[in-house]
Structure formats: C-alpha cells, structure tokens
C-alpha cells in the first residue's frame, strides 16, 4: 500500500465536528453570487453519474424567478455496486444538511428534501436528531429554510430525478419528458436543484476549503476527488476517496486480487473494461465517468452471467412506460440466452447490438439509454463467453 500510485484524498469524511455548523454559518454571510462563482471555479460536476456542472445548475436556479424553489438531495442510491452515499449518510450527515442549506440560501429556496432510499430507513432516527440541530442553527442564523426527509420504496428508477419528483408528489415513479429540466420545472413543477448526496457534501466542502484547493485535486477535465464503492473480487472492498484521473491499471493494482479480468465501472448502467484496456482507461470525464461503482471480476467469473444478472436487474427495474426500455431489456436478456442455448445463431448478437443503439437513441430516460453501455461493452469484449 505504501507504494500506491493512487492519490488518496480525505475531504469528504475528514474533519467532521459533530456539533458544528461553522461552514454553513460562515458561508451564508457571503453573497450568493460569490458562492456560485466558487462552485463554478472549483470545476465540480455532479457525482451521481451524469456529471452536469454543479455550479451552473445552481447559477441557473438562482436566476429564475419563482414563488417557490426547492433543493432536493438525491439519496436514492440504487445503482448496483454503489454504497458510497450510505457511508456519507451514516458518517457525515450534517455536511449534507448544511450543503443543502447553503444551496437553499444560494438559489433562494426555503424548502429542502432528502429523498432517502427505502432500504436506508434505519438511518432515520439519527438523521432526525441531526436535523434538529440544523433547525436550531438555522433559527440562530435567521435562515428561512427547512429540510424534510422522504422515503423511497425501493424502485431503482426513482433515482432518476424526474421519477423521484413524481414519487415525492405521490405518483407512480416514472420519468417525465424532458425538457423541461428540473432546474426549470422540478418538484411540483417549480425550479428545483437536485443533487446527489456526494455532490452536495462536496459543494459544502468547497465552501470550506475554497475552490482553488479543490481544483488542485484531480485532472483538468475531472476536477476533484470522488468516492468509489469498491466491490466484487477484491480483498479490500469498501468506500475510498480518490482523486479523479487515475488509470484503471493503477486502480486494479491496488484493489484487484491479482486475477482481475474485467472491471465494471459505473454499475449496471456503466461500462465493462477488460484487462487489455486497463492501462489506457482513465477514470474520469476524459475516460469513463462513474457514479463511483467499481466492480471487479476475476477469471473465475462468467461474463455471460454477469451480463445476464445486469439485464435481469433492468427487466425488473425499468419503470415499464416506454417501449425501448420495457421490451428492449427483455429482448436483450432473452436474446442472449437464446444465443447461448443455440436457439438463435451467433449473428443474432448483431441484431441485439443494433437494438441497444435504438434503446440509447430513443429511451425516455437515462435508465433505458444506458442499458446499452453494459451490454455493448461486455458483448464486444467477451463475445466468446456470450456465444459458447
């Protein structure tokens, strides 16, 4: 470990004073424009996976005129192989709440929501305790802002921001048509900033350490550090904070079990990288961006089963409303099996790859659009395993 080529970082979990809301107190004394400018300068992009520049989102929301605006923290961590938000929620929840309050102050929202994954309900007692402390602090600072916690019910698609709003409004969790985007018409069709847990905490951290220090981390295209959920065939699974821009080879050297044949970067909706591409693959926006899920597979694993497992997941977790996602996922799963079972011949893989393109082009939301990622990268890199 001493010769690690990875750059560790410790800004998310570091320096947590349980009773202190100093960052919040200091930050809300500054003009909102200055805070936005800092967030933009830091170069941080959304940590949920999509990577939209956070500062621009806040800036746009701040300029919109509306009687109501909302801050929503997306804690519906559902991507297979991702468990970093869970750690944040357990270890530094007050950073989340103060980050939300800062965002509320900046954009002019009086109400924030934490949309918590149903399986994380066990955290509620502690979160409510921390909220009480926040409320007291907000009162002291005379900030008109409050946070409510809403529980999800276990649907993966509700992590999609517009499906999340539908769920919060009491409807079936189905993604909406976009545009309009959440920042214009989000929760209750009001301007809403919705950020991933890690994004909010990072924004709060930037307010604390300043944009320059933060921008020194990572690379030009991928500023900062990020949490990684490391799982699969690794001797040391867990959550790690690393600077962006590392190569996958360096990552595997540290976390692999010596026999790593592939890494699934970004969960079921991410990309599979085979060993021969480890050295050239950069983890970051210049290479493969990720919400943080890193699943390692060693040579004992059948990539066919890995893919079938992902597809089964998508067949279950698609909301079912749009054609390409609802039926496309089933066709990919059943088609792959048909090839394996020799019901369809090898050429059928081409039809299925063509179908993933259709799904990518036409699915209503990110879920259906990204099924293609895992399918294509696994099928193309491990064709023999799919067919024989």
């Amino acid at each position: 470990m001493n010769q690690s080529k990875l750059k560790r970082s410790d800004i998310i979990f570091g320096k947590y004073t349980p009773t202190d809301y100093n960052v919040l107190e200091k930050t809300v004394k500054r003009p909102p424009e200055e805070i936005i400018s800092d967030i933009i300068k830091s170069g941080i992009r959304g940590r949920g996976g999509a990577g939209f520049p956070t500062g621009l989102k806040w800036k746009y929301a701040a300029t919109l005129k509306s009687d109501e605006k909302y801050v929503v923290c997306n804690a519906d961590e559902g991507e297979p192989g991702t468990f970093k938000d869970r750690e944040i929620l357990l270890r530094v929840p007050r950073k989340i709440f103060s980050g939300m309050a800062i965002c509320g102050y900046v954009i002019g929202a009086k109400k924030g929501f934490l949309y918590l994954r149903g399986e994380y309900a066990f955290m509620l007692p502690q979160l409510y305790k921390d909220l009480e402390i926040l409320d007291a602090k907000l009162k002291e600072l005379a900030l008109d802002f409050s946070i409510e916690i809403r529980l999800g019910s276990g649907a993966y698609v509700c992590g999609e921001e517009t499906a999340l709003f539908e769920s919060m409004e009491g409807y079936r969790g189905e993604p909406r048509n976009k545009p309009p985007y959440p920042v214009v018409a989000g929760f209750r069709n009001k301007p809403t900033v919705i950020n991933n847990v890690e994004t909010i905490v990072t924004a709060q951290t930037i307010c604390k350490i300043g944009p320059e220090d933060y921008a020194n981390l990572g690379t030009t295209d991928s500023r900062g550090s990020k949490l990684f959920s490391v799982s699969g065939d690794t001797p040391i699974p867990g959550v790690y904070e690393l600077e962006l821009g590392m190569t996958l080879a360096d990552f595997v050297e540290e976390y692999g079990d010596g026999d790593t044949k592939a890494v699934q970067v970004g969960g079921a909706s991410g990309f599979c990288v085979p060993r021969k591409k480890f050295a050239e693959t950069i983890i970051g926006f210049e290479g493969i961006p990720t919400g943080g899920s890193m699943m390692l597979f060693n040579n004992k694993r059948s990539m066919y089963h890995v893919l079938q497992n992902f597809l089964e997941f998508f067949c279950e977790e698609s909301c079912g409303q749009c054609t390409p996602c609802r039926i496309g996922t089933q066709q990919l799963r059943d088609g792959l099996k048909a090839i394996k079972d020799k019901v369809k011949d090898e050429d059928y893989l081409e039809t299925l790859l063509g179908l993933t393109e259709t799904m990518k082009l036409s699915a209503k939301c990110g879920l259906g659009q990204s099924v293609a990622n895992a399918f294509k990268s696994i099928v193309e890199n491990f064709t023999e395993e799919m067919v024989y």
């Binding site: 749009c322 990518k360 036409s362 209503k364």
Partner: protein, 596 residues
C-alpha cells in the same frame, strides 16, 4: 403574449407559436409523424417513442409529441437512423403483442397493425415476450372486454379514464417487464368502479379494449322464425354509420341505415328518437311537477337541481361517486329502456304478439347501454326489456358481414308504430340536446308559446365547452302554470364525467344555482359515445354534432310534444304523463354503490 418562432423541418421552414410541439409543427407543413401513445384529447405521454425525430445538436432522438419546438431548431423526421429506430420500436411492440391479427375485432382499424405494415416490420425479428398471464381475457363486464395480450401499454385508456372521466378504473400496475394496465387489484371489470362508458375503447389504438359483442346473439334471433326482432336506433347512430364505409365524418345516413337494417332481416326497424320524445314529455312533466310541489305546495324535500338520466355511464358514475345525491336524478328511464319496456307491452299488444317471442335490440352509440340493458330492475314488461344493446360499430360490422353495399343501398323509412320522431328527439345525440328538447317543450307548456329562439335553436346550450349554462325567463304563463310567472329557469349542461363531477361537487356543497342539468358521460354527448366509430377527436365530434343539428333542422316536426305517435301512445295506452302506467313502465330507481 404568443410569440412566434421559426424552425426547419425536413428542410422546410415553418413558423409556429412558442410551445407548439415538434409533432404539431410538422403537421402544419403536412409532415405526418407516426404516433401511438399520442391522442389529441389527452395529455402528452411520450412513452411509445414511435414519433422520435432528429434534432440537430442533440445526441439522442427526441419524441416529437413531447418536445416543444424552439426557435432555430433544425429537425429531420425521416432519416435512416429514424427509420431504423422506429422499425425496431415497432418490432418490440409486436414482440410483446398477440399478433393474431386475422381474427382481431380491430383488424384493419388498428394503429399498431397499420404502422407495423407501413414500416414492413419483420414479425420474427425479436423473440416473443408475450406473457402467459396476459392471455387471459376479461369478459366479466357486460360492456367492455379487456384483452391484455393486445395491449401496447400506451396508457391512452388510463389517461382517458383519469383526465376525461375522473373515474380511474384503469391504471398502470407493476413495473419493468411486468408493467401492465390493470383495474384496482386486478379485479374483473364488473367488480370495480367502472362506468362502462367505453371512452377507453374509443381511444385504444389496438384490440386490447373492445366492446363486448352481441351480434351473434342477434343473428341467432333473426334466424329464429319464432322470434320477432324489433330494433331501435339511437339518435347519434344515424350520423356515424357511414364512417365505417369510408364516407366523410358528419354524413347523415338515416335512410341508408334503416334500409340496411331491414335487409339484415329485422322484423321491425324503429326509432329510439320516438322514446327520446317520450322522455321529454315524461321528464318535462316531472320537472314541472317538482317545481309545482316546491312552489305551490311548499314541499322543501323536492330535489333541485333535477338531473337528466339518459346516459347510463353517468348513472353508474353518480351511483358510485355521489350515492347520497341520487334524489336529484330524474326517475325517467333512458330512451333505450323506455323503448324496451314498451316494445314488450304496448307494441306487442298493438301487433298482437306474445312478448316472450319479441327480441328487442337497441343500436346505440354507447358501451354502457349494454350494462343498462342487463340491469336487474329493467324488467318492467315482465321480461328483460332490452335483450341486447349493440354499438354503432357492431351494426357496421353486421352490415359488412351481410355483404350489404351500404354506399348503394336505397334509403328507407322507419316502420311504425314507435318509428315516428321529431328533431327534438334527434338532438339527444349531442351534448345539450336533451336540454334543448326539454326547453322547447316545457317552455311551450308553461307559456303557450314557442321558445324565444330563432328557428327553435337554443344556441346557448349547444357547443363543446365542458360545462355550459343558460337561463330562460317564464313570462305570460298560461293559467295552469301561473305560479311560475317571472321565474328564471336556470339550466346547465355538462359532458364528460370530469365535468359531471364539478357539477356534482357543487350540488353536494349546496351551492348549485340550477334548476335542471343535463349530464352526458361522454365528451360531446352520445355522438362521442363509447360505441361510436374509432377514431374520435374534437374535430370529429364537432362534425358529428353539426350533422345532428342539420338532421334536426330538416325534420318536419321539431318539438317532442308534436310527435303524433307519442300522443297516440298516451291516448291509447299510457293515459297521462307521469301517470300510473308511466311510472310502472317508464320510470326507475337507482342503487347506492361503493366508491371502491
């Protein structure tokens, strides 16, 4: 302020109002983008994805039905990428679909079939993912059949039931591959809160939702020499039957329809308009009686406003949703049920027939009429008054089955007795028509003069706005109705059950300012009924309405009380309006039902 924006679609510049969707902008320049989940009557869904187009600068394709056009947009609607995508999407829908098109009731009038053929989709490109559980057809309802194996999950039915009707009998259940359209707890349709209005059927692009068919029953009756088949046709049927034979929407085909039915072998082809006129006499008298009891006798228990009761979807709706307010309903049966009760009594008597040998069949614009015919209380004649209610679609089917050349058939007149009608009866087919017909008669009874509207056209109650209101002042009343002198009768008209709900909420709150309200379950009234030709939209409904009013304007008699056969019926059989026999045969009671 409406702002105009410019964009380019397939190299053609087009100017539209900001907010217009790409789909509508394309329509403006004659580019038809295929759709499935889109319906003009409903909100945007954007879930079938068939309407995808290329927007310059966008990585992915955009659903044109759900994407607003913006200034300077450059759009392509027909590129290899788009065609491949649409073809794949259609292939996917087909793979989830029961493709036994040859035997499907909606074959040749199915939007999926049409597009799959247009895009030359290979039925075997994908594996079938049709679920075993979807192969179970729900035939529990008298009115509607639900065949999930033909459902493409476009949710038009769901949106119809919620946005237009406010009933929510159908909804989306489960997710992913298990997602399907279900009733509450997937109960059979006859056990859930469904009004049987059939609006979902009208908007279903495929054969997943259809009316329950009764034409085989009817063919058997026609073929049975011991049976005397009496058929009556609802007002709104005569302006739509032509649509099934390629005639323009809004073509009046009364004579042809009658002739075709005679050729089918009916023993007697009669007119529901006759009992529509009768309804006006009974309902008008009921309204005046209620007013008299209130004003003269001081009987405060009289329920106002009085509500019309012709629309069986509306009746089922109020029974479920407002069971404590059933007293507001007129006790008059619908024209269909009045007809049935008279067919097996008065008609049988006059024709010297044994009522048990009479088969009474109604041709209706309606799906709910099937349920109504089977209501247990509808046995005033001692038999089931109406043996079957068929939709206008079923009649068109029968005409085709019989090989009748509808375009060339010579027009014929209705038979007698119970075949005469007036223009007032005809306009029952349009929203506001019952109200207009009632006012024409009631006003004249009370004042001795015709309603003070040019050509008897009471235009304030006509039109397509969801709720319309009007008032008419009663002046210089005849002696018997002097107590109504100076009264301003306030009326309202509502169509579509969502509008009915607004009217009822007012009544429940005790703030309804009206004396008399007409409610029709279906948008546009019966002409937009759940048994009418598919497709439907506001433009189609307006054309049908125009045809109805033309039919009225061309009738020699236009007031229900001028119907001589109706007068004869009272003289020979019923005695007086709202009299003992009327109550026995022509009036009914209602049932309180649950909300779930």
């Amino acid at each position: 302020m409406e702002q105009l924006i410019q964009l380019t679609i397939d190299n053609i510049p087009v100017e539209v109002i900001e907010g217009t969707t790409i789909l509508d902008a394309a329509k403006k320049i004659g580019v038809k983008i295929p759709t499935l989940c889109h319906h003009e009557d409903l909100c945007v869904a954007g879930n079938c994805r068939i309407c995808v187009v290329e927007v310059q600068g966008q990585r992915n394709l955009s659903a044109s039905c759900a994407t607003p056009a913006t200034n300077g947009m450059v759009i392509k609607t027909n590129t290899p990428k788009i065609r491949k995508t649409r073809r794949d999407l259609l292939g996917l829908l087909v793979s989830e679909h029961n493709t036994q098109c040859t035997t499907c009731y909606r074959s040749m009038n199915c939007e999926l079939q049409l597009l799959a053929s247009e895009y030359n989709v290979d039925n075997n490109i994908f594996l079938s993912v049709l679920k075993e559980s979807d192969k179970k057809i729900d035939r529990s309802s008298y009115s509607i059949e639900k065949d999930p194996s033909k459902c493409i999950r476009c949710q038009r039915c769901v949106r119809t039931c919620s946005e237009l009707q406010g009933v929510n009998a159908l909804t989306v259940a489960h997710r992913g591959e298990h997602m399907r359209i279900e009733t509450f707890m997937d109960l059979p349709l006859n056990e859930v809160v469904c009004t049987n209005c059939g609006q979902c059927v009208n908007r279903c692009p495929t054969g997943a939702l259809t009316e329950r068919r009764y034409f085989d029953f009817l063919w058997d009756a026609i073929g049975d020499p011991t049976k005397h088949v009496v058929m009556n046709t609802a007002p709104a049927t005569r302006v739509v039957i032509g649509e099934a034979f390629g005639m323009p929407v809004g073509t009046r085909v009364t004579g042809k329809m009658v002739a075709a039915m005679k050729q089918l072998g009916m023993d007697s082809v009669l007119d529901t308009d006759f009992t529509a006129d009768l309804t006006i006499i009974e309902e008008g008298t009921e309204l005046l009686t209620r007013l008299k009891k209130l004003i003269v006798d001081g009987d405060k228990t009289q329920k106002f406003p009085m509500l019309t009761s012709c629309s069986p979807g509306w009746i089922k709706f109020i029974e479920h949703m407002y069971p404590d307010h059933l007293g507001h309903l007129s006790t008059c049966k619908s024209p269909q049920q009045m007809f049935g009760a008279l067919a097996k009594t008065y008609y049988a008597e006059k024709k010297g027939l044994d009522p048990k040998n009479i088969v009474s069949v109604a041709i209706m614009p309606c799906a709910a009429k099937k349920y109504e015919a089977n209501r247990p209380e509808m046995k005033a004649s001692g038999y089931q008054d109406v043996d079957a209610g068929l939709t206008s679609r079923e009649l068109s089917h029968m005409i085709k089955q019989a090989g009748i050349d509808f375009m060339r058939i010579e027009e014929k007149h209705y038979d007698s007795i119970m075949g005469e009608s007036t223009g007032a009866g005809v306009i029952f087919g349009a929203t506001g028509g019952v109200m207009e017909a009632a006012l024409r008669t009631v006003y004249e009874i009370v004042t001795g003069r015709e309603v003070p509207f040019k050509n008897l056209d009471i235009t304030p109650v006509r039109g397509m706005e969801g709720i319309r209101e009007a008032s008419i002042k009663l002046e210089n009343c005849v002696e018997a109705w002097k107590f109504l002198e100076g009264v301003e009768v306030k009326v309202a008209v509502a169509h579509g059950l969502l509008n009915a709900r607004k009217i009822m909420d007012q009544i429940a709150a005790g703030t309804s300012p009206y004396h008399f309200i007409e409610v029709m379950a279906c948008p546009g009234g019966c002409l937009g009924g759940g048994g009418q030709p598919i497709p439907t939209n506001e433009e189609i409904r307006k054309k049908r309405a125009q045809a109805i009013y033309e039919e009225d304007a061309n009738m020699p008699k236009r007031k229900s009380h001028d119907n001589e056969e109706v007068q004869l019926l009272y003289k020979e059989f019923l005695g007086e309006a709202n009299g003992h026999k009327s109550h026995e045969l022509l009036h009914t009671h209602y049932t309180k039902r649950n909300k779930v």
